[in-house]
């Protein structure tokens, strides 16, 4: 490749998305990935012979439909298999299953609390409406409310007008979602402990907050955004694991002419006279480009790849106080047989959905209580899928892979993480789950435990935060990652950011990458 127009640092899904959009608009783009593989935290690997895992990121939740459409991802190999149900086993041997089938779901809810069956549809409608109100915000850069520049003032007015046109009732409902705790919010609607527990769990994912912490209600919305776009409940599973999502985006990018280099770790972004001019690789090579885009998180970008002296003090201070505090871990199991849950021992469609260990709000809150003082939860929250039930190619015939997302495993563990603590944590997870599925321990052939410290070491997410920084109110929208620098630009000319550490952040969504590309092309 001759000198590229744009160099993208990091081949995660946002970097690849940004690259694809830039190349589509005619730019010559080079993606540099430190690891031997692309995908960032969204990759699949044959961890044990015959058993493939989505090692970290494991479900497709919020991948923007416009990205799937515009980049023609299905043509590039993306196939999403829906997760059709959520099973919540309860300690007393009962269960709650949320089904995709409306009548079946209603009957199950009514079995636990008749009022909940009534409230469920109304709740869904309201959240749909809220999700629709928020959706345009995901597609655009966040205007800076303090700016005096005409362009930004215009954006600000447009945003103001957009909100003024929303019914005031919806605005207030949105405010409530932004400021309330998931538990308080759900208390206004539902009675059933298992339902409230399982629903509130979506508010705590990726964050060192409990279901009773204000600010967690907002994430409930995320579950309703995907549904809007015709994908069931926003949660699906990519055939071949989450690496397939990255692979499809990469294929789309390459089809537009993007060059992707792996094993190409960038050690520094070169800045001359306040302008980014290229990158220096760890092997000493220097590459030039007029535009550099970092897909790494804000801390790695501004306190690692760029020298502090090239940045204003206040900006550096803002990046230093930006919170990561990873709290999520993964346990990946290779199983000789399917687990048999006491509450539903026979194999059935429920094994093709999610399984959630979240019997009540108090259960989750207690798990959080331990984590906030630096211990991992002794009885953790788990979100489990068995990908081999949906895609048999993930495991040898008759055998299975199980992906367990666990909270809380705080990055800042008292005494720090070690091999022994990691295994101790793995035992805690298996023991807790075995209380609901007694055959589990005997079925385990191999076990992989990944702590936030491992996530940081392997894919470079600071403190193992899966969202490149907490999605708390003071780190969202025009404050993400720093006030005045939320529009993918940075204080250095020609240097942009495109990772989840920018608005709107979140899981495998791609919105940051796409929005960044739009901003660069402006």
């Amino acid at each position: 490749m001759t000198k590229p127009d744009v160099i993208i640092v990091g081949g995660g899904h946002n970097g690849l998305t940004c690259a694809a959009y830039l190349a589509r608009a005619g730019k010559k783009v080079l993606v540099l990935e430190r690891r031997e593989r692309i995908g960032g935290a969204a990759f699949s690997e044959e961890v044990f012979p015959g058993f493939r895992f989505s090692v970290f990121s494991y479900v497709v939740s919020l991948l923007r439909p416009e990205i799937i459409r515009e980049l023609e991802l299905p043509r590039h190999g993306l196939q999403i298999l829906p997760l059709e149900s959520t099973l919540t086993p309860l300690p007393n041997g009962d269960r709650l299953v949320q089904w995709s089938d409306h009548d079946q779901n209603r009957a199950e809810l009514a079995r636990h609390a008749p009022r909940d069956a009534e409230a469920y549809d109304e709740f869904g409608l309201l959240l749909h409406r809220m999700a629709r109100a928020v959706k345009p915000l995901l597609r655009t850069a966040a205007p800076d409310p303090a700016s005096l520049r005409p362009g930004e003032l215009f954006d600000l007015l447009r945003l103001g007008r957009y909100f003024r046109e929303l019914p005031e009732k919806d605005l207030h409902a949105l405010w409530k979602l932004l400021t309330m705790s998931a538990a308080d919010y759900l208390d206004e609607w539902f009675e059933g402990e298992a339902l409230k527990g399982t629903k509130s769990a979506s508010g705590i994912i990726g964050t060192l907050l409990g279901p009773r912490s204000p600010g967690t209600a907002y994430v409930l919305l995320h579950h309703y955004m995907g549904e809007l776009d015709g994908v069931f409940r926003a949660w699906g599973f990519a055939k071949g694991g989450n690496g397939s999502v990255s692979a499809a985006i990469a294929a789309a990018a390459q089809a537009h002419g993007v060059e992707i280099r792996t094993n190409a770790a960038v050690s520094r972004i070169r800045v001359k006279g306040g302008r980014a001019s290229g990158v220096i690789l760890e092997n000493g090579d220097e590459l030039e480009a007029g535009t550099i885009v970092s897909g790494a998180d804000p801390r790695r970008t501004f306190l690692g790849l760029v020298r502090e002296e090239n940045l204003p003090d206040e900006f550096v201070a803002a990046i230093k106080r930006y919170k990561f505090r990873g709290a999520s871990a993964k346990v990946n199991l290779a199983l000789g047989e399917l687990p048999r849950f006491t509450c539903m021992p026979e194999p059935g469609p429920h094994m093709r959905g999610a399984i959630s260990i979240s019997p009540s709000v108090d259960y989750l809150e207690r798990a959080y209580d331990e984590a906030k003082y630096g211990e991992f939860s002794r009885r953790p929250y788990m979100d489990i899928v068995i990908p081999s039930m949906l895609d048999p190619s993930m495991a040898p015939p008759g055998k299975h892979v199980m992906s367990i997302f666990v909270q809380y495993a705080p990055y800042h563990l008292n005494g720090g993480w070690s091999d022994a603590r990691r295994e101790e944590f793995g035992d805690t997870v298996v023991n807790t789950l075995a209380e609901y599925a007694p055959n589990l321990k005997g079925a385990i052939l191999h076990r992989q435990v990944v702590t936030p410290a491992d996530i940081e070491r392997i894919v470079g997410l600071s403190e193992g935060n899966i969202f490149q920084g907490e999605l708390s109110l003071q780190q969202m929208f025009f404050l993400r990652p720093a006030p005045a620098w939320a529009r993918y630009r940075t204080p250095i000319h020609g240097l942009y950011q495109c990772g989840s550490g920018t608005h709107p952040g979140g899981g495998v969504m791609g919105a940051s990458g796409r929005n960044a590309a739009m901003e660069i092309l402006r």
Binding site: P145, T179, E188, S472
Partner: protein
């Protein structure tokens, strides 16, 4: 001129009553609960003549930290814990005072609408730093705000005690930075504690009677008066109620006049009390005006943990203000269902004993007692918990934020209304002004 009935005799109701009386209405105040003269908070100048007293030092811990109204003097005391914190204290006070200044203006008028252009412009006038502070700080957990500024655990812990006061949240909960600011509004720079106001003068010249209201009477969609528990009817064309909106709309107004969705929402307003109050008589007067036993921010958080599961904190956060040889004590966290004083008293004495002169007598009031005595729903002095989702344009509910109800002539003026208790009489003042405008 018309007949006005004011239900309740708290400072908000009294201020509303006075303003309406000054406007020429014939006002009767129905006093349902015990009167209390000394109320926590500050008195806005608009009300005229009320004195706000504050202990100085306004904060004193058992580790010797003392914070004064004099910022430099506080910095000296902080300097014994951390030179860095001492150096940052004046700037912290300055930045917080700016935000509190904006809140103070907002507090003495009806809450702005969420999309109010004038409010937006006023926020923009704070300048870039002020705006960023406002938008970052309000939704923050107090512990994070304080971590950004300070390193001393003692200083941070003590301030956290005021950031969670009467709130069922810990300092790690989002929005407690707003609560800390609320405690600062109306106070001199560097003081993050509400004072005490003697509200007795507000009662002079008002017609008051002691009675329980059983029903607010409505005829043809407009109030016609109230019926007392003894069956007596008091006719009025305007009724101003200071009670919790859930009680006013859900119990006092006859069913059928108000949209059931609104009634349900009013009943759902979160009003959990989390503190017990106590009065201790001591052998002799203590040598200090106030004592705060909070420990670190984590200690305050742990105290909160207990109440989530309906338990009294093992080591409650205690704040005592001396009144001669007696102490007025605020003890948090206590679940709102707590009725048993023995347990609370034991913990109070255990924590306090080492730091005070010999204790002669203790009388504890639980949230249940506080509800019975003062009519605070579930013992919550703010009636509606002062969390971000129940503040400003959301207070107590967006539909009721203008102090008006769907029943013509029925108004709400109690602590559940914007800006809440603590700003003495402000809800009553705003309510009366809203009535005069309409």
């Amino acid at each position: 001129m018309s007949d006005v009935l004011v239900i309740g005799a708290g400072p908000d109701e009294l201020v509303a009553a006075r303003l309406l009386q000054q406007a020429g209405h014939r006002v009767t105040v129905v006093q349902e609960h015990a009167l209390h003269d000394r109320v926590d908070g500050w008195a806005p100048a608009q009300l005229g003549g009320l004195q706000t007293t504050r202990p100085d030092p306004w904060l004193r811990t058992n580790d010797g930290l003392e914070l004064f109204a004099d910022v430099q003097r506080s910095a000296q005391s902080i300097g014994r814990l951390s030179a860095r914190d001492a150096q940052r204290w004046p700037e912290f006070c300055e930045r917080m005072a700016r935000l509190a200044g904006l809140l103070e203006k907002i507090y003495l008028q009806a809450p702005p609408s969420l999309i109010d252009l004038r409010f937006a412009l006023r926020v923009r006038r704070l300048g870039r730093r002020g705006m960023e502070d406002l938008m970052r700080v309000l939704p923050m957990p107090a512990s994070e705000l304080l971590d950004e500024w300070f390193e001393s655990d003692i200083l941070k812990g003590a301030l956290c005690a005021f950031a969670v006061r009467d709130l069922q949240q810990g300092p790690r909960s989002a929005g407690t930075a707003f609560r800390l600011l609320h405690a600062h509004v109306g106070s001199p720079r560097g003081v993050f504690r509400p004072g005490t106001v003697d509200v007795a003068p507000l009662r002079s010249g008002l017609t008051m009677r002691e009675a329980q209201v059983a029903r607010i009477d409505v005829r043809g969609g407009a109030v016609s008066g109230a019926t007392l528990a003894n069956g007596e009817t008091l006719p009025a064309t305007i009724v101003v109620a200071g009670a919790h909106p859930g009680r006013v709309l859900g119990e006092l107004v006859e069913p059928g006049w108000i949209d059931p969705d609104l009634v349900r929402a009013a009943r759902r307003i979160r009003s959990r009390g989390v503190a017990a109050r106590a009065r201790l008589e001591l052998e002799r007067a203590p040598q200090w005006p106030t004592l705060t036993l909070a420990g670190t921010a984590d200690d305050v958080e742990r105290a909160y943990d207990a109440v989530k599961y309906g338990r009294i904190s093992e080591r409650p956060v205690i704040d005592a203000v001396a009144d001669g040889a007696a102490l007025d004590v605020h003890l948090q966290f206590v679940p709102h269902t707590a009725a048993d004083t023995a347990d609370i008293q034991a913990r109070l004495v255990k924590v306090l004993q080492p730091h005070v002169p010999p204790i002669r007598r203790v009388s504890v009031r639980t949230p249940v007692d506080l509800e019975r005595t003062y009519g605070w729903p579930q013992g919550q002095p703010h009636h509606a918990e002062l969390s971000l989702d129940q503040a400003l344009w959301m207070r107590p509910l967006p539909e009721l934020a203008g102090y008006k109800t769907p029943v013509a002539g029925l108004w709400l003026c109690g602590p559940a209304m914007h800006p809440g208790a603590g700003v003495i009489g402000a809800a009553g003042y705003n309510c009366a002004r809203a009535m005069q405008k309409s």
